[in-house]
Symmetry: C3
Subunit: 352 residues, 3 copies
C-alpha cells in the first residue's frame, strides 16, 4: 500500500519524447506522460478503458491520444472523445488523468485526489537548474521495496563502511550521530563536524587537499521519499560562523536532490541530481562528481538488493533497531501515519 | 479452466520427428506426440505414471514408448506393458492417451472424454493442402491467456489502428461493422464493403493497384478458438453478384485458417495458415503473403502481451464493452456455456 | 520443511577464500562461511541482525566479521561486539552461529540444536583424501526439490535407460534388484552380479576389456542425503570370495561419496567425489573418471529437472510405486520420521 496524496517524481523532463510517450509505472499504476501541441504536460493511466492496452503504444493526435489497439481517442482530461467503430461515446469511457507539474527538469505527478494537489507541496529543487550551480543527475532502478532505499538515506552511518573509497568520510566524521527532528511530512537530519579531514571524493577538487575542514550535512527527508540535502565543507575554523550565519564563504557546497518513487511493491525508481557551487564552468568536474556518485549508488544498490533477497527468503525475520535508526524510524512513522490518514479519508470518518 | 471436449490443434504434421516426439503442453497437460511404425499418430500424457518424467525424453521402440528414466514401456493406448525391474505390471500403471487426428497438415487432439471425440467436429481446413490453393503458415507463441487472442480476432476494428501498414484497410472499410450471428459452437462474422480502396498488402499483387474493389471478410470463429475465414476482393461493381452467387470471378481470395490453443493459463499456441487462390505457382508470392502476415501478428502479439501485463498489474480493472465487441462477447458466452456444460457432465447432473 | 539436526555438506574446503566468505544457502538459511586468523572455520547466518544485509558482503577483521552496510562487528559466536554508531551493544544483537567441521575436503554444517551436534554423526568420506585412492569431484546445482535427487540415487534401475553410454551396465546387471535394509538413519542397498560384462565406462581402463567380471554395488544412503558407495568389479569367478572376505584383489574399486543439500524448497546442492583405487598416479585417468561421471550427472539433472516441471504443472499428480522403489520409499520414511521427531522435540512432548 502506498500514499496517494503526494507528489511523486515520475521522470526527467527530457524523458518525454517530442512526439510520443514516457511510459512509467508509479505505485503500481501504469502512467503515460506526453506533451500536447502547446508543450503542456499530461499524465493519463496507461491503460485504455476498453480492453486495457497501454495508451503509450498509441500515438498523439493534436491534443489527444489515440489507442493503438482499436483506435479510441482520449483528450488530456482522460475523456474518450471518439470510438471509431461507433457513433456515441458512453460517459463511462474515460481513463484517469493525474495532475503533473514540471519543475527544474523534474516531472512531479499527484497520484491521489486531484482536488488536494497543491503545487506548494512540491519540494524546492531549484538548484538543479540554477545558473549559480552546476548539476548532473540520473535515474536508477532498484528491484526492492522503496522503504529499504529510504532507510539507506536516513542513516548515513553506512558511509564509511559501504562507501569507504567514495562518499565515506573519516572515522571521526562517521562517529558523530546527527540530530534528528520531526518536521512537517518528514524528518530533518543535521550534523556538523569541526576540524576533520575532508572526505575522499573532495580531495580531487584541490582546495582542501591536505587541509582540515569543518563539514556539515543537513537534510530534510519528506514524503513520499524526497531528499533535500545541504552539505559541504569550509576551511577548519570557519564552520562555527558559517553555521550561525548561513554564510559559507569559500565552501565546497552541494545541494543533493533525490527522489524515491515506488514503481511496484518490489521495485523503485531513484531520481537524483547533485548540484554543486564550485567549478561550475567545468563540465568535466560536474561529470566526475556525478560519476563518482553513481559508483556509490551502485554500492548501495548491490547491498540493498541483497538485503531484499534476504528478507524475501525469511519473511519472519525482524530487523533490530539501533540508535542510528532514529531518523528512519521516525520517517517510517510519518509514512504509516499518512497511510492511515488516507484510509480514514477514504472511509469518510473524521480523522483523529 | 479450459474446455476439454473439443479438438485442439496441437501442431503441424512436420513437427513430429521421424524417430522421436513432439512435446507440447495443451490446457496445462503435457503431451508427447509420436508416430508408430506404420506412421500412425499417437498422443500420450507426457508424464510417466511412475515418477512423472516426460516420456518425450525417452525413445520409440516399435509401437511403444520407453521412458528414459527407469525404462517403463507403454503401448499406444498408454498401458504400461513392461517394467524392466519387475515381472508383473500392475493394472494402474498407465498414462492417458488422447484421440489425435492428422488433417491437412494439422494435428488435432481431443483432450476430453474419448467417447465424445467425433471427427466430424474437426473444422474444415482443406484449403491448407488443396492444390488449387497455395499456403504458408506457422506457429507463434504468446505469453497471454488465450481469450485475449480470441478477442483480437473477433474485433477487426483494430486493423486500421494496429496494422496501418500491413492488414489495415481504408477508413471507409474500417468504419463498417460486420454482422454477427451465433452459430453452432461459435459465431459468424460477416462484412461486405463495396467500392473501396484495396488494402495496403494487396497492392503489390498487381491486379488491383490503383483500382477500386468490393471487399469481403466472412468468418466463423468456433470452439475452442478456431478461425475459418473467407476473405478477399473483386473488381468494384462485381461484388453484389459475387455475394449472391458465391462466384468470385477474378477475385483475390484467402481462406485464412487459424487455431488458438491454450498452453497454460497464461500462454497460448497460435497456429496459422493463409491459403490464397492467386499466383499459386509463385512460391515467392506465398512467402511474401506469409511474411507480411507474421509482421502483423507480431504487432498483435506486442500489444496483447502489454495488455496482459496491464491486467496482471491491476486485477481489479474491468474492461468496458463497446459495440464492436459484439462478436467477442458472444464468443466468450459460448466458451462459458461450454465450460458450465462440462461441469454439469462431470457432476452427473442433468444438463439444463 | 527440512531436517535441522543433521550434518549437511555445505561446500568444498577450497571454496572458502583466504580473506573472504563462502556464501551459501542451506535449507532456506543463508550462511556465511569464513576462516579466522588461525584458519578455523566458522558459519554464521548470512544476515545482519540489524537490517538483514548479507554479512558475506562485508569483510573479515581478525577473528570477527564486519557488516558492509552499517559496520556492525560480530565475533565467531555470532555476538555483535561493536556498533560503530553507538557505545552500547544490546544483548539481542547477534546472529546464529552453526557448528561447522572440515573433514576430508568437505565442510559439514549442523543446522539444528548445537548441543546435539555430534561429530561422530559425520559420515566417513576419508577416501576423498586418502593417499591410497585418487579422487576428482565437484559441485552441481539442481533447480529441484532435493528428494527427487535422493530418489534418483536410491533406484539404480535407471542406469541402463538414462545412462546407456556412461554408467549403464549390461542388461543382466540391470535386471538384478538389490537387497535393501534399514540401517541407522538410512538404508543400505546391496547388489552382487556374477559373471557379467564390465560396464561401458570401465572398458577404457584396460584390465577388463573383453573379459567377464563379478560386479558389486553396496551403498548406505543416510540422512540428510549422503551416499556412501562401495562399488567395483573383480575378475569373474573371484567375486564370491571377495564378498565373503572383503578382499578384492585386482579389483577396480570405487568409493563414491555424494551429498545432497537442500538449498531451498526447489533447489539443491549436489556435492560429489569419486575415489578410485587404480591408476591413482595418473591424473588423466582420475580426470576422465570425473568427466564421465559429470556427463552422467547432467543426464540425471536434465530428466529430474523436467520431472520437477511436470510435478509443478499438475500438483495433483500422484507417483505410482513399483518394486524398485523399495529403497527410496524406505528412505522417504526415514526422512519423514526424522521430521516428526524434530517437531515433537520442539513441542517438548515426549517422543513416541
Amino acid at each position: 500500500m502506498f500514499i496517494k496524496n503526494c507528489w511523486y517524481v515520475v521522470g526527467w523532463s527530457g524523458e518525454v519524447p517530442q512526439d510520443g510517450f514516457l511510459a512509467r509505472t508509479v505505485i503500481n499504476v501504469p502512467l503515460a506522460l506526453w506533451r500536447d501541441s502547446r508543450g503542456e504536460l499530461h499524465a493519463l493511466t496507461d491503460r485504455c478503458c476498453h480492453r486495457g492496452a497501454p495508451l503509450s503504444m498509441g500515438r498523439l493526435e493534436g491534443n489527444c491520444v489515440r489507442c493503438a489497439y482499436h483506435g479510441l481517442k482520449f483528450d488530456a482530461s482522460g475523456r474518450c472523445v471518439e470510438i471509431p467503430s461507433q457513433a456515441r461515446v458512453p460517459a463511462n469511457f474515460k481513463v484517469a488523468s493525474y495532475p503533473v507539474i514540471e519543475r527544474h527538469k523534474w516531472l512531479w505527478v499527484w497520484m491521489g485526489d486531484p482536488a488536494l494537489a497543491d503545487p506548494a507541496l512540491i519540494s524546492d529543487t531549484h538548484y538543479v537548474d540554477d545558473p549559480a550551480w552546476a548539476s548532473g543527475g540520473g535515474h536508477l532502478h532498484y528491484d526492492v521495496n522503496y522503504l529499504l532505499v529510504c532507510d539507506n538515506l536516513l542513516d548515513f552511518t553506512h558511509l564509511p563502511f559501504l562507501h569507504p573509497t567514495t562518499l565515506g568520510g573519516s572515522a571521526d566524521y562517521a562517529a558523530v550521530l546527527p540530530t534528528v527532528e520531526r518536521i512537517d511530512r518528514g524528518v530533518r537530519v543535521s550534523k556538523w563536524v569541526f576540524d576533520t579531514d575532508p572526505p575522499e571524493y573532495s580531495k580531487s577538487y584541490g582546495a582542501y587537499a591536505g587541509k582540515r575542514v569543518d563539514r556539515w550535512m543537513i537534510y530534510d527527508f519528506i514524503l513520499p521519499g524526497i531528499l533535500l540535502m545541504d552539505s559541504g565543507m569550509v576551511p577548519a575554523g570557519t564552520g562555527a560562523t558559517a553555521r550561525e550565519t548561513g554564510l559559507r564563504i569559500d565552501g565546497l557546497e552541494f545541494r543533493g536532490r533525490q527522489a524515491l518513487t515506488p514503481e511496484t511493491d518490489k521495485s523503485t525508481h531513484y531520481f537524483f541530481a547533485h548540484p554543486h557551487n564550485f567549478m561550475i564552468d567545468q563540465p568535466e568536474v560536474t561529470k566526475r562528481i556525478t560519476d563518482n556518485l553513481v559508483i556509490a549508488f551502485e554500492e548501495d544498490r548491490a547491498i540493498i538488493t541483497a538485503q531484499q533477497k534476504n528478507l524475501d527468503l525469511d519473511p519472519s525475520f525482524k530487523m533490530l533497531p539501533m540508535a542510528a535508526d532514529l531518523a528512519l524510524t521516525q520517517f517510517r512513522r510519518v509514512v504509516q501515519a499518512a497511510l492511515e490518514q488516507e484510509i480514514l479519508q477514504v472511509e469518510n470518518l473524521p480523522s483523529a
